[in-house]
Each structure stands twice: as structure tokens, then as C-alpha cells.
């Protein structure tokens, strides 16, 4: 269990993390999502007691990380892949970390085998690919058989096989009742791995919700209607739904369109039939996870390429449902 309360971090003028309150609970993969520079890594360092918060607090299983008697058994962390001396072999790297907490070579061999690095364990880490570095980082995180796992961008640089491997590993770790807290800027990956999402932008909490809810809220469950008599149909729809978009002219001789929220396609179709209005298109608009993410974080991206188009077509709706009562 990781709990952050009003967690803040200020670097001079910059507020990197701004009164962040969230929780990651055992048995779940919690995705920690945000654009680059949103404050994900800073938050993770504060969880591990590496950086001191300038406000608020964060605990792991109810205790500040630095107070734990069995740190490696409490939390396993991967902060950066290849955060290892390039001249040291992965075996010796793991052994050094293991020994500091009283673990021995046997445990090192176990985790090396687990991540599939047993055959290159004696090679110097400087020769490792980014993917091997990630595997070594994951091995380091697993050394102490921790109840909480904290992984910063673990699939970066992995090949497709490796990505699937990490996905399954994280799910199985959560399945064993562990707390898995994993950051990423890749929305699609999180959709497949996480069951809960903590989304931040510019250090602030944007959403703390389940993946399904996140998409549903962001896309708003809208239906897109195209009809030659769009204006009349829109008036009829307005009697049952208050959230109806303006009619937009169709392109290239196509019928004009408008969107509706809160109504099933079947209801709209029956309504049109009942009034003898032709319908050319009737589709559910499902925002992709990427799209939902972009819309929600559009205002919170710190760096954007000059002149880059705003991905959001609609103003972002706040999606904040707090799991905790």
C-alpha cells in the first residue's frame, strides 16, 4: 500500500509535484501516468525517501520508507534502467545490492534466472542493451521479495516479447497480492497492464480512477449521427438528451452531423425511424485511451512543440472519482 497525502515538491520557482493525494493498493497494478516532466519520477523518489517532500507526506505500508527495518523486503524499485556501473557485471551488481540487506548469491541467481539474464550475468553491464538494463533493473527490484513494487517506465527499450513479459510479470505479482505501482507515459501500455490509474499533469492529480472508467469518462459515451435532416433530428433528440452538439456541415456532399451523449444508438435510430428521418451514419465515438489521455493532459503538458495542434476537440471533462471512501 502506497499512500500520498498532499505530497508536494518545489525546486526553486518550479512546483514539480503539487499537493498530490493518491493511493496504490495491494493486489492491483496501479498505472502512474503523465506526460514527460509531469512529476512522476520526482514522486517516485519521494516515495523511496530519496528526495524529501517540501510539503505533505507519503508512506509505504503506513510508514515513511526510510523508517522501514527491512527496506528491500518492503519495496523493490526500478528507477532508471542501466543505473549501474558500466564496468561491473550484473551478477556483482545484484550481489552488492543483495549483500547490503543480508541476502546471498543464491537469491541473486534466482532473480537472474527469473529475468532471463543468467547467461550474460558475468558480462560487464556497459555492454548491455537498454532492454537488458531494464531486465536487470527488474531483477534488482525483485531481490528482496518485496510486497510493494515501484517501477519507473519499465517497458522502455524492451522488444515486443519483453513488453509482454513485463506485462505478465506485473499482473502475476499483483495477483500474489503485491502492490504494483508502475509509471509510464505510454497510455496504451497502461491500458493493457494496469487496472487502476493515477494520472498527473504538471505535478497535479488529474484522475484517480479505473482504466475502464477513465476511457468512458473521457470519451463521454458519445454517439455520432449523420442525417440529411440533421437539424430536425437534433431537435427531437434534444427532448431526451441535454448534451447534444451543434450540427456540423458534412464534407464532400455528405450529410451534416452532430453528436449526442447519454443516449444509446438504438434509441436514436428508433427515434429517427419513428419520425421518418433518414440516417446515414450512427456510430459510437470511443475515444482511444491515447486520445483520452491527451485530452485530459492537454493543458498540463509542460513542453510542447511550437505550433503543435491541440489534440483536444472538446474541453476536457474532469475525471476524478476517488476510490477511497
Amino acid at each position: 500500500m502506497i499512500e500520498a497525502r498532499e505530497l508536494s515538491k518545489r525546486y526553486g520557482e518550479t512546483l514539480a509535484v503539487d499537493r498530490l493525494t493518491f493511493a496504490a493498493s495491494p493486489g492491483h497494478v496501479t498505472g502512474f501516468l503523465g506526460p514527460n516532466g509531469a512529476g512522476k519520477s520526482t514522486t517516485m523518489r519521494m516515495i523511496l525517501g530519496l528526495d524529501a517532500p517540501t510539503g505533505g507526506s507519503v508512506t509505504v505500508n503506513g510508514t515513511a520508507y526510510r523508517e522501514h527495518r527491512y527496506p528491500l523486503h518492503e519495496v523493490g524499485a526500478l528507477l532508471e534502467a542501466k543505473a549501474i556501473h558500466p564496468g561491473r557485471s550484473s551478477y556483482n551488481h545484484l550481489l552488492a545490492v543483495a549483500q547490503s540487506n543480508g541476502f546471498g548469491p543464491r537469491r541473486v541467481r534466482q532473480v537472474l534466472e527469473l529475468v532471463g539474464l543468467e547467461h550474460v550475468a558475468r558480462r560487464r553491464a556497459g555492454q548491455y542493451s537498454l532492454g537488458m538494463g531494464q531486465r536487470l533493473g527488474i531483477a534488482t527490484a525483485l531481490l528482496g521479495d518485496p510486497g510493494v513494487l515501484l517501477l519507473d517506465e519499465p517497458v522502455n527499450g524492451l522488444d515486443p516479447e519483453g513488453i509482454i513479459w513485463v506485462r505478465n510479470l506485473l499482473k502475476s505479482l499483483a495477483g500474489e497480492g503485491r502492490t504494483v505501482f508502475v509509471s509510464s507515459h505510454l497510455m496504451a501500455e497502461m491500458a493493457l497492464t494496469a487496472d487502476h490509474l493515477v494520472v498527473i499533469g504538471r505535478g497535479r492529480l488529474i484522475a484517480d480512477t479505473s482504466v475502464a472508467e477513465f476511457v468512458a469518462r473521457a470519451s463521454g459515451g458519445r454517439v455520432r449521427v449523420s442525417s440529411p435532416d440533421a437539424a430536425r433530428l437534433r431537435q427531437l433528440v434534444l427532448e431526451t438528451s441535454s448534451d447534444v452538439g451543434q450540427v456540423e456541415a458534412g464534407h464532400d456532399g455528405e450529410a451534416p452531423t452532430f453528436t449526442v451523449a447519454g443516449l444509446e444508438r438504438s434509441v436514436i435510430g428508433d427515434l429517427a425511424l419513428h419520425h421518418g428521418i433518414a440516417i446515414h451514419e450512427l456510430t459510437s465515438e470511443k475515444a482511444s485511451l491515447e486520445q483520452a489521455f491527451m485530452e485530459l493532459t492537454a493543458d498540463d503538458v509542460e513542453f510542447r512543440a511550437h505550433g503543435a495542434e491541440q489534440p483536444a476537440e472538446r474541453p476536457a471533462a474532469p475525471v476524478a472519482s476517488h476510490r477511497k471512501a
Binding site: K82, I84, S89, N92, S172
Partner: protein
């Protein structure tokens, strides 16, 4: 790779926690697992033994006037002027390499007690350095005295002659302190170039700069307290004018190292990693 579940769980025992013994084993693994450690120690030993023998050989040419107060035992250890930098750089690197690679975050995650970590890291390094340094200074002594002994004036002395043992052991202690100064500066400054520059500044440049200050500024009274000036008195046969006595000088040098560590420790506890 496909079978995940069976090997994840291990049995955690009560001793699976950071303690001095475990951290010492860990730091020893870090030191011995890098080839650069071996090479730097070899360079330190080679420079000391090589230059020490060379200096001894220079005195046997016959052209050098040798006075009655010639410090036969200590003279070859002027080689430390150079080798002190090699061991100091190794001390710097065992700390700053962890920062530059990012390993330090893993280290402090595994051992959140930062004071314990620095203390144990420094102790393990000091032990390794002292063993190598002692072998080096004894070899330097016997090699240089053998060379001096071949001179017709029989300039060489034995280890049992007055002050000889103190000089040889003291030289090893001096090298160890130089390495520790590097560790302290590394922990204080966290950056390899900054720490090495400061190390060279303290050991080399500061004493030279003192020569350009006017005498009326109590130059000599100040200069004797500088780290390398004070520390180098340990290789003198007898106390030198305007200098501290051998053991007091070495103690003053150790004081510099202690102050560096005290500041590093305070900052280490307070700073973000």
C-alpha cells in the same frame, strides 16, 4: 522466462536488513568487482616504488653532496607527491561513480541509513587501501635502501634504525588518508571533476600558492597546517623548522579528512539524491 511464479518468493529472514556487516560485504563486492580499482592501486604502488627507487638512485650518483642529516629512510617517499593523487582519485571515484551512473539511488534505497553507508564505505576502502599502501611502502623502503646501500658511502639504513619504521608505516597511513580525503570530497561534491579538482587543489596547489603570499601575513605559520604540508612531516627523520612534528602533522592531516567527512555527512543526510 515463461515460468514466473515459482521463483519469485523467497524466505525472508530477520537478518535481511541493512547492517554494518552486510553493508561491508556489499561495499567490498563493489570495490573488488571493478577492474579500475585494481589498476589504480597498481598505479599507486608502481609510482611509489618506481619513483622512490629512482630518487634513491639519484643520490648514489656521487655528485650529490650528502650531509649528516640526510633522511635516507624518508627521502624516497617524496614519491608520494605523485602517488597520493592516484589513490585520492580512487577514493573520489568509489563515491562519484555511484552518482554518475545513478547506482546511488539503488544504494540508498537498499540502505536508507546514509550515515552508516558512508561510514562503512569509507572503512572498507580504508582497509583495502592501507593493506596495499603498507605493502607498497615496505617494498619501496627495502628497494630504495638496497640501492642506497650499494653506494660507496653506504647511505642505506635498516628498518630497525631510528624512525625508519615510523616513516614506512606513516607513509602508508598518509596514502590511506589521501584516499579517504578523496572519499570525503566525493561524498561532499558528488561530481568526479569537482572532487578531483578540489583534491588536487588541497594537496598540490594550496601549498604552492602560499609561497606567493608576503611573509608578513604569517605565511609560514599558516602553511604548516595545510593538509599535505602537515601530513608529509611523517616521512621526516626529525622535526623540521617551521613545520609540525611528524605525528602531530599526520594528525592535523587526519583532522582535515575528518572535517571533510563531517560536512559530507551533514549534507548527505539532508540532500536529495
Amino acid at each position: 522466462m515463461s515460468a514466473i511464479a515459482p521463483t519469485i518468493t523467497s524466505t525472508v529472514r530477520p537478518d535481511h536488513r541493512p547492517g554494518p556487516a552486510g553493508v561491508a560485504r556489499s561495499e567490498w563486492t563493489k570495490i573488488r568487482s571493478l577492474r579500475s580499482t585494481f589498476w589504480t592501486l597498481l598505479v599507486t604502488a608502481g609510482l611509489t616504488i618506481g619513483l622512490g627507487s629512482l630518487f634513491a638512485l639519484g643520490r648514489t650518483s656521487g655528485r650529490e653532496p650528502i650531509g649528516p642529516d640526510f633522511n635516507a629512510a624518508g627521502f624516497p617517499f617524496n614519491a608520494l607527491f605523485l602517488s597520493q593523487l592516484a589513490i585520492g582519485v580512487l577514493g573520489v571515484l568509489i563515491v562519484t561513480a555511484e552518482y554518475s551512473s545513478g547506482m546511488i539511488r539503488t544504494t540508498f534505497t537498499a540502505v536508507p541509513q546514509r550515515g552508516l553507508l558512508l561510514a562503512v564505505k569509507a572503512s572498507v576502502f580504508a582497509l583495502v587501501t592501507f593493506v596495499v599502501a603498507a605493502v607498497t611502502t615496505f617494498v619501496t623502503f627495502f628497494a630504495s635502501q638496497w640501492i642506497l646501500g650499494r653506494d660507496s658511502r653506504h647511505l642505506g639504513v635498516s628498518l630497525t634504525s631510528p624512525n625508519a619504521l615510523r616513516i614506512v608505516v606513516g607513509a602508508a597511513l598518509y596514502l590511506t588518508l589521501c584516499g579517504l580525503l578523496g572519499v570525503g570530497l566525493g561524498a561532499l561534491l558528488r561530481s568526479t571533476p569537482a572532487a578531483i579538482t578540489t583534491l588536487a587543489g588541497l594537496l598540490f596547489i594550496l601549498p604552492i600558492m602560499m609561497n606567493f603570499l608576503p611573509l608578513s601575513w604569517h605565511r609560514d605559520a599558516i602553511a604548516q597546517w595545510l593538509p599535505s604540508n602537515a601530513g608529509f612531516q611523517i616521512i621526516e627523520k626529525v622535526a623540521q623548522p617551521l613545520q609540525l612534528t611528524p605525528w602531530v602533522g599526520l594528525a592535523v592531516f587526519a583532522g582535515w579528512v575528518a572535517v571533510t567527512f563531517a560536512v559530507a555527512l551533514v549534507l548527505l543526510r539532508r540532500r536529495d539524491v
